[in-house]
Structures are given as C-alpha cells and as structure tokens.
Amino acid sequence: MFESPTIAEFVTQSNLASTLPGTLLVAWTLLLVLVDLFAGDEREHWTPLGACLGLGVSFVANLFVYAPAADQQTALYGMFIADAFTGFLNIVILVATLLAVLMSRDYLMRAGIHRGEYYILTLLSSAGAMFMVAANDLIVVFVALELLSIPLYILAAFRSIKNDGGELALKSEESGMKYFILGAFSSAFLVFGAALVYGASGTTNIPQILEVAPAVVDAASSATFYLVVGTALLIVGLGFKVAVVPFHMWTPDVYEGAPTPVTALMSVTAKIGGFAALLRILVTALSVLLLVDGGVAAWQTTISIIAALTLVLGNFVAISQRNLKRMLAYSSIAHAGYIMVALAAAGTAGSADSATQGALVYILAYMFTNLGAFAVVMTIERVDGGGGNIDDITGLARSRPLLAMAMTIFMLSLTGIPLTAGFVGKFMVFAAAVQAGLVGLAVIGVLTSVVSAFYYMRVVVNMYLRDSSGELLPALETVYVRWAINIALAGTLIFGIFYPLASNLVSMVSIA
C-alpha cells in the first residue's frame, strides 16, 4: 500500500523548494482574492499593488532558486524541472506580467471595468506559464497550459463596456468566445498527441521518453507510427497556442477584440509557454527521432515548413492592416515564425543548444519590444476600441515627441535594426539556423524581415512625416503606463546596445 510521507519527507523528497517561484505566486494570488474582497473601495489601489508585490516575491524566489545556474534538478518526483532554461523564462514571464499590470490599471480605470478579478486572473495565467516552462512531464504541460489559457479566455472577454451609442461593444466578447472555442479545440489535439506518445513509449515523463524512444523507432512497429502521429498532434496543439501558420486563424480577431493590456500579455506569455513546451518535447524528448542521414531530427522538415509559411504569411498580411492592434497581431504571428526557425535549427544534432539560446534571446527581445509597442498603442487608443488605426497616430511626433520616439525604437526593434534588442535576437536565431544547415530558412527570415520593415516603418512615417489633420492628441496615459513604456524601452535598448549581455545570460542554457 502507499505510505504517505511526513511533511518534512515530502518537502525534501519532492524538492518543493525549486518550484517556489510558481507556487508562491499561486499562493499569493489566492490570498489576494481575499484581500480584494475585503478591501472595499480601496481595492483599485490595493489589488494592483498586491499583484506587483506578488510578482516581486516570485522574482526574488526565482533568483534564489536559480542562482546556481548550471545545476539541473527535478522537483515533485520528476514532474518539474528547474534548470537555467526555466529560470530565464520565469524572469521573462514575470517582467512581462509586471509591464502588463502597470498598463492595466490605467486602461481599466478609463474603461470603467476596474475589478480585482482582472489582476488575479492575470497572475494565475502567468503562474501557468511559469509551470509550463518548468514542465518535465506531458501531463504537467497540459495542466499548466490550461492554467495559462483559461484565465486568458476570461480576460479576453473582459472589456464589456458601452460604446458611444450606448450599445454594448461585443468585440471583446467575440474575442473571448473565439479564443475559448479554438483553445479548447487545440487542447484536445494536445491531449490526444500526449496519449499517443504515452501509448508508444509507456511514459509521459519527458526524459524517460528520450530513453525509450530509440528502441521504439528501431522496432519500426505500430508503436513507431503512434509516436510519429503523437508528435505531429503535439505540434498541432501547441502550434495553435503560439499562433503559427496554419493554426493562426484566431489570432487577429482575438488580439483586436481583447483589452489591449491583455493582448500584450497573451502575445508574450502564451507564446513563451507554448514554445517552452515545444522545445522541451521536441528537443529534449524526441531529439532521437532521427533520420538516418546527417543526424537531423525527423520533425525538422515539418517545423521548417511551418516556420517558412508563418514568416511569409505573417509579414505579408500585416502590410494590409489598418488597425494597429491587428497589425501587431500579424506581426506577432511573424515573430512566432522567427522563433520557429530557431526550433527547426534545434533539430540538427549538435546545434540544439545554440538554437535554444537563440530562441530564448529572441523571446526576451520580443517581450520588451512587443509590450512597449502595445503600451504606446494603448495610450492613443480610445477604450471602445476606436482610435487605434494607423491614421490616428499621424502627427504624433509633434503632439507627443517622446512617445513617438519610444514607438520608433520599438518599431526598429521589431524590424531588427542593429542597436536594438530585436537585432540581437534575430542575429542569434539566424546564426543558429545557418550553423544547423538551414541556410534557405535563414534567407527567408532575412527577406521577410525586409518586408516587415515596410509596415513597421509606415508607422514611423505616419508619426513623423505626415501632418496631423486637426487637434493634438490628448495625453491619456498615467504615470504607471509611462513606467511600463520606460522599462520596455530600457530593456529594448540595453539588450540591443550591450549585445553580449543577452547571450551571456542564456549561455548556461542547455536542454538537449
């Protein structure tokens, strides 16, 4: 019979300490629910503050847990893994959430939808992302993915406000509904894929799959077939979450309809979670799914095709977008394509580490830049969703010179111009792709970057070179949003100018 351990035994055996960043955040959030309930009218001050404090606590815990960066440890009987990969992405997620919370308070007050649940759902979603980057088991991947996604479905539908005509603006509800249905649909793919992989390998633990997989592949029996189909279904399920072509259909509508801080948050944390799981599953567990020639993983061709399609479609369709949020949605699809290039490069034996590090630096750069760009869009947008068109920023350089300057730097970083973080990310990803022998894919990446310059620079041109038709734009942002923009700007520039910094931070990362 099962002997239940004592508490001390459980804490030491399960290595509970290394899950502290995530578990502390969840515990803090559960207490914040009660604080929010009894804070009364003061809640609009206390709940955001409490959310920021919780993120700070988790951040400090993360620094303590991952200070010895090189050593790898598992927790909760192999379900979680705490390595440099986890620690780095945890920090990215926490900073992204902090920026989103800073943006949110202002937006919610303006829209008149300031409720404490918003912050609680935000923190829970981020905790889900943190568990997902630490997942070492397919079941944990699934549970963490749901913890990440379900709050986002609710948050996407949060903007239930009346527009000028007094009618309820339904875009946000449509956004939440679409995200929910397609998210649930993709989860089914993920679970079915995990079930097939389990059926083929007899385990859901990622390192154990690695041990079993060579025998399964060599046997060339039905189990081999199940393993391949299961891998494909896992790619489909996670591909929905990170929004790569052809699983991107929901992205523009959902991103446009959701409240802008939520769009900013989910364009970063959901992608981080999805890519972390893809990297762990494909690189760690199924790297041995090798073809005979040249030590290349069998899934590399598939991932390369998805990456190429994503790059081309995301960048070309973004050109025709007039709404800034929609444009940034297609741009986020395109950026998922660049991370997908790194994932494909990780499929070549020997370049898994450099490709993973490239993906992490890209994610870091993308996080700062994208959140900053969304924060600027938020300041010029009206709460009913209007005012976010590309023509509405015309003449911003004259009315708000500093804001226009910040937006310019974010656009340059998204394009990948040197001295911005975006360049460092792109450089590392393309270098990894070339090293892995995927020269064609790297060329597609560079060419589509040139295409992306067209629509990013159009924003800059509109701000600086075209004259605004009428009145100056009012200053809509508060000190919190200004801080969010400042932090994002600092991150974009620091990691861009001191370019070895980012690659030093990830130099310990190795998941292969």
């Binding site: 239940s4 351990p5 004592t6 508490i7 035994e9 559960l30 629910v33 009660l34 309930l37 009894f38």
Partner: protein
C-alpha cells in the same frame, strides 16, 4: 496484492454498476399491467399540465447556483475517503486535505462576498 486483481474489482464494478439500477426497471416492465390511455401517455410534469415550450431561457442565477453546488458536491466526493482514512493518515495527508478545503473556502468567500448566494 496483484495489480491485476485490483483492476479486476474495478472491472466487476463497471459491469455490475449499470445492471444494478437497470434491473428494477426491467422487472417492473416485465410484471406491470399494460393499460395505456391518452391521459396516461401524455407528457407529465409535476402533476400539472405542461405550459409552453421546454426550451425556455433560465435566469443565469440558476447556473451560478448550479456551479456552487457542483463545487461542494465534488468536494464531498474527495473529502469522504479523506475522512474515512483519517486514522491511517500522517500529518501530510491531513495538511493536504486542509489545503484542498482552503481552496474551496477561498472560492466560497469569493462567491459569498460577490452576492452570488443571494437570490435577487
């Protein structure tokens, strides 16, 4: 104990479980007198004649009540074995159970404070 034996119990249970409630219905159907008339065969609802369509819209409050009920219904399913094995549990099991109860209490407080328990 052999793992297969433990599974066999579940298998037997799965076979017997549907038979047990179905048997009385089958027996009643075998032995009952059959004298149908129009009134007997008509739709019956709480002793009164049905009014209108079945597909009506319910207040959303029913749904919230249903959700809260479900939470505590499931809580009971989890807590019953916990209480039954109370004497054989270490402190670990005790704490784990209380953690579970805390999570639900948290949710109950939330629902309570948001007036979800009041019928308006």
């Amino acid at each position: 104990m052999n793992v297969l034996n433990e599974w066999a119990f579940i298998g037997m249970f799965a076979v017997l479980a549907p038979i047990f409630p179905a048997l009385p219905i089958v027996i009643a159907w075998l032995f009952r007198p059959r004298k149908p008339n129009v009134l007997k065969s008509s739709t019956y609802e709480c002793g009164v004649e049905t009014i209108g369509d079945t597909w009506v819209q319910f207040r959303v409050q029913y749904y919230i009540y249903g959700l809260i009920f479900l939470v505590f219904d499931v809580e009971m399913v989890f807590l019953f074995p916990w209480a039954a094995a109370y004497n054989e549990m270490s402190l670990f099991g005790f704490v784990a159970g209380f953690l579970f109860i805390f999570l639900l209490t948290d949710a109950l407080f939330y629902a309570w404070q948001k007036n979800a328990l009041e019928w308006k």
